[in-house]
Symmetry: C2
Subunit: 868 residues, 2 copies
Amino acid sequence: MEKKLVYMFSEGDATMRNVLGGKGSNLAEMTKLGLPVPQGFVVSTDACNDYYADSETMSANLMDQVKANMLQLEGITKKSFENEENALLVSVRSGARASMPGMMDTILNLGLNDKVAAVMAIDNARLAYDSYRRLIQMYGDVVKNVDRDHFEKDIDTLKVKFNKDTEHDFTPDELLELVNLHKDTYLRLVKEPFPQDPFVQLTSAIESVFKSWNNTRAKYYRRMNNIPDEWGTAVTVQEMVFGNRNDNCATGVAFSRNPATGEDELYGEFLYNAQGEDVVAGTHTPLPISELAKSMPAQYKQFLDVSKQLEKHYHDMQDMEFTIDDHKLYILQTRAGKRTAQAAVKIANDLVKEGVIDKQEALDSLDVRIIDGLLHPQFDTDVVAKLEPIATGLPASPGAATGLIAFTAQKAVEYFDQGKPVILVRLETSPEDIEGMHISEGILTARGGMTSHAAVVARGMGKSCIVGSSDLIIRDNVMIVNNVEYHEGDQISIDGGTGFVYAGRIETQSATISEDFNNLLEWADEKAELKVYTNADSSEEIQVALEFGAQGVGLVRTEHMFFEADRIRAVREMILSTTPLQREIALRKILPTQREDFEKIFRTMKDKSVTVRYLDPPLHEFMPTTTQDIEELAEIMNMSSAEIRDVIRSLHEFNPMMGHRGCRLAISYPEIALMQTRALIEAAINVSNELDGITIKPEIMIPLVGDVKEFTYLASRIRKLADELIAEANISLEYMVGTMIELPRACLLATDIAKEVDFISFGTNDLTQMTYGFSRDDAAIFLKNYYDIGIYENDPFQTLDTVGVGSLIKMAVEKARAVKPNIKIGVCGEHGGDPQSINFFKQLHMDYVSCSPYRVPIARIALATTTK
Amino acid sequence: MEKKLVYMFSEGDATMRNVLGGKGSNLAEMTKLGLPVPQGFVVSTDACNDYYADSETMSANLMDQVKANMLQLEGITKKSFENEENALLVSVRSGARASMPGMMDTILNLGLNDKVAAVMAIDNARLAYDSYRRLIQMYGDVVKNVDRDHFEKDIDTLKVKFNKDTEHDFTPDELLELVNLHKDTYLRLVKEPFPQDPFVQLTSAIESVFKSWNNTRAKYYRRMNNIPDEWGTAVTVQEMVFGNRNDNCATGVAFSRNPATGEDELYGEFLYNAQGEDVVAGTHTPLPISELAKSMPAQYKQFLDVSKQLEKHYHDMQDMEFTIDDHKLYILQTRAGKRTAQAAVKIANDLVKEGVIDKQEALDSLDVRIIDGLLHPQFDTDVVAKLEPIATGLPASPGAATGLIAFTAQKAVEYFDQGKPVILVRLETSPEDIEGMHISEGILTARGGMTSHAAVVARGMGKSCIVGSSDLIIRDNVMIVNNVEYHEGDQISIDGGTGFVYAGRIETQSATISEDFNNLLEWADEKAELKVYTNADSSEEIQVALEFGAQGVGLVRTEHMFFEADRIRAVREMILSTTPLQREIALRKILPTQREDFEKIFRTMKDKSVTVRYLDPPLHEFMPTTTQDIEELAEIMNMSSAEIRDVIRSLHEFNPMMGHRGCRLAISYPEIALMQTRALIEAAINVSNELDGITIKPEIMIPLVGDVKEFTYLASRIRKLADELIAEANISLEYMVGTMIELPRACLLATDIAKEVDFISFGTNDLTQMTYGFSRDDAAIFLKNYYDIGIYENDPFQTLDTVGVGSLIKMAVEKARAVKPNIKIGVCGEHGGDPQSINFFKQLHMDYVSCSPYRVPIARIALATTTK
């Protein structure tokens, strides 16, 4: 038997979403519920996939089944698709497994031709010609790629000729003239007449919907929303009902609750005597749905009931399309309604209160990517909707920001000191820019990927950030975009959630955590099996994370403790040292401030887990780069500039990411690790003494271990010193020494490593880099192309590559647990804050995920969400 | 029962090498054979390892067993170790599992003290005091680290006082005075008197041997010879016999065959009336062993017989120590003799001919690292032995070379054109230096590791090369070593096999492949299950490899086909192109020469396998770096220098190794891969037509694939074009499209990849880099320290890391074979020429290993060698 590719609505239900698409399966479900749904059939997603697998051809099997189903539909409707008498007209619409609103194409009134129109016109000439002219326009646009402007021009011509404001005022004769004009336009541009055979129309329309699956905006939408290319789209073919038959008709869209606020009220718009496209096209101003209550109270009441029924049935707020055809209500579509973060939270709460859903369903109903908006300032959506971005980049850290352009960290600080808000605009950022980043409202870079320095640091700070905006040319303190120059001090605005850059100032609205949201977070915590820690480098960041519900700190990066202005000199002194003694003297200068930093962190975290990663970046990052800075350093160090340059040169690395960093640095200079140990343990001792009865439990994390011997070499020295300090202090203090697993080799040899370490934290950023063999900073340039041609569907630095990198992590977790069943295992890479990746970590039964402070609520929700 | 740590000779045999060490197990074996061996016992390697495991303490159990065994030895020898009457004196010598000649310490005459000496002196005062003064000196040196110079000064003082040329002319009384002087010196420097208790002497001596396992030269030797740190050393305690008792005594060392030429003759040296150390010390000129035939014919005959018996017994040429004590011959040690490559080859052949060993044993007897010397020019060992190197570096590519220093490739070419031999001295080399490298005798760099650009290219060319010589400071066309300046045009000599750099000119002797060597290679091919291919980029290199027995080309790197002077301009034009069309026009200029290159290769290889890797390096490598070159290019391209610099800047990568290279480049610019396909397939067609009846079978290798979609994207386009070209040519031509697996992710996802590819070749260099997360160019700086402190024992870029990288390879091979059992699998990384790594590839039953031309014979031998 041939593979089944087409289904009548009556053959399906909501469980068949993968085959019938969202629209098709919901129409089938509503049919089952006995709701007033115009009947039809669905060409399945399998058919779409076969179409692509078979070099884009419509198979004979598919066409046979379409014909057979059309025959059935003729039976149900008692109309005919091929004869002009009592003609069956249909709509052809796309419907993927996941909702992709507006991304693909729709054609209405299919089946109309000269003869059918003429017969229809006998009864209702306006309906016949209005529908026909719409078909020619939509078909020309969707199937033949004729720019809609050509058809708009026809309309304009006749508007002038007939002296009418809009085509809706046209008489039937005038509409017929428009039909003829459209047909001429079609012939002129397509080089063939508008097809009169309804089956030719249908076949082409179905194929066009298939093709629209791979149009640029659909591909882009899929990538943004992690929708696999392989899903394909279904095509719904449905009997037309007419909102444009007469004045007893209407058509509209409505949400079962207010999608902006979440209020429990039918919310939507409609037009009298119109077709659905008019409502969304913006050419006519639709009326609020409440108007309908007055003009057609019975139909309004019926619709309201359907709306509540569907909400209860689907356990979610619905977005519905309806048409009233000569007093009779039809439901043309229902789906879960898109909503703002605020609305999502309120609706989830309300539905639980109303007993419609349980807490788990409430959590599952949240789109965590949207929830993120609750945690950051936002532009007013209405204001932004009217603006054209001047450039786009990667949305590296969400939130809206507005301020003056500063091209250097110094300039940013200067503006800040004058009380002016700043957007720091850089080719790329480096650790030297930290202070400038800290005081800026937002950060915009021309280079780098989602896990570049700017991106990682900005997320940590919860600061709006756009990176890798290749639209920007930055040189000599000018930013050039599309040949327009922007200078230091000019106003710009950026939205780190969308990656859009705007010229000028846009007001922002600050973030709020509502009681409703808090409820949800608490429900989430009840369900979650993993803890949520935070990656945070300072007590200020940790404070934010605690407020967001972090249960520990999974990653304190200590490099910032070396970069700050008051320490960098001692760090450079250390680097320029030629003996361990010199090095130790320099390090001793850093010790007190570093100890204070740790004390502040412990005071904030108290008895909660704090994992401190020892110095990680290669030393050259700490050396000055400008001539002036080099000369200053030479003066201070009593060396020549040439000597300083020699040292800088000697520190040069071809591939710093794969260079002398992480534990390799500590193995070369154990003094550094020992200074950090002293600072950390002394801080723990001091704060333990200070906060009576509270047990500080520091966790020391050694980065970039690739061989257990690297770990044991350092850990034995660290433990020896720590034990001595604890003994001297005559205090009982427990600490752990563990490692960050971020190299493929560490995963492969996790058995050996697990035997020696007290805990393991996966550094998934570097692990992803090494497993793929590409650097997050350099990959942006070719990854964009990879998405376009479909090699990758999403950024592996954002969403964990479960089959590759994930299989290494799984291997490591299994090996580690085999030798040490209770070993503490977590994730502190960027993926620790990504819902899809968190899902994977959940399956591995890790102990915690650690993410930047502003991702903590997202992670809490994600951990409690049912695996989909 | 306590763990057994000490064994009498009579308790062991040759199979117990791991426990007793080489020396101990051979002494036990000779005891078993009934040969005249002074008896004794062996402190096992376990004891040494326990010593280190137990923070360097001599356990009570060990001391108990030493005492018990000493008691037994007293019984066997009927002498006493603690009483002065009939005193038992012993030697204490190191003996590791693998021979490490001269690396560890030895003490003779142990047990002597004032009383014992006095009693011995009654009988033979010269023997007593000569032995005693030697003990004090050796004990002081080995156990107490007293510099031998102090004792030499004592001797010099008395030589002057007694007016004697050497201490061997001292009378017994004078020797006694020397004993007393040595005792004073000992007391002065050690701050305690020379120990009189024989057991104190013994315990300290054993401990010193243990300690000597970890002295710097032993550690260095182990690393050079891939001897694991965990093996530990055994300690042999053996009854002293005396070659210095009287004139009827002699002591010496001899090889059962000539170790330099392999001739079948007893070859060695001896001294009358002396102890073993005198023979090796160089203070006395020993006599050739043939002298002994005249003076002591019976003992000589007996020794010759023992020598033949041991050869037959051990199936190998022996290196023996003997002593004749008052007419009686004793064998003190036997072991396989070190030999030159020439000798090794001749001996292996002769022993097969004599029926002593079979072909497999002959192959197993070869030390492939030494055999390498046969394939490259060498310095005269006698000349070099007398020279002090001015610097050392990593021995990147073997062979001796001598010539004028050139600091740039241009200068090298200039000298070459004047007929002067050149050593190219660079901070590091880059692809731009290729021509200069090609015409140089040898290459010396200050930076880089064993698989840096210079190293890889030099090995490919079979050219002497030393890299990463951190002793060198190179700036402003001066090389400074230890404050001595060397200028362009100065003579230097380098030995790429040892890593030694010499000032001045040293004559080289050219390489020869003897008939004997050819025999062995042919025997090897009979045994080998894997084929040996070569990595070679030009028909010239391939010719060399064919002469060395390569059966195919496993890797043609095509980047050189873009770098050559006549093409680089077109390549730059391509890079500066802004449209695919411009790019194609530029590529079309490269096509004809690239096609010619491939034609030459096919003409050379005929129907043998040729695997061509498509362009791999990032594009910035092809751009000019000097201002002058940039200006020239700007002029040619009709662009401004600033624009060229903008392009160069835009190509900059933070980590080029992990950047836009390999297949990523071809995916961005499919035109490049298609041009290469056209050049390759057209060349194959042309040469097929030219060489009637010969089937050319090109293999296209796509590098750096991390996801099967990368491969399929390119392969489908490549196959389409190739098929078109073949169809047009109306010829039957088969080709393969495969991939280089060099990323961890490709190993993890090998199932998917194997389904699509025609073959797999492991690029182990990059795979090692990514798995360890360090770059071969940057790692040298910390790897040195890693060896010193014992984190790694050898360079993972030289010898495959079987537990880490190897486990990924194994996984990939298994996954690939599971879905495509007959898929062709090989290795084309540097490890393909490393015997230890080859061993691993053998176990995975790969189809071939591919290595640089000059490693082909080594690989052939290694493949046939029994796994040890």
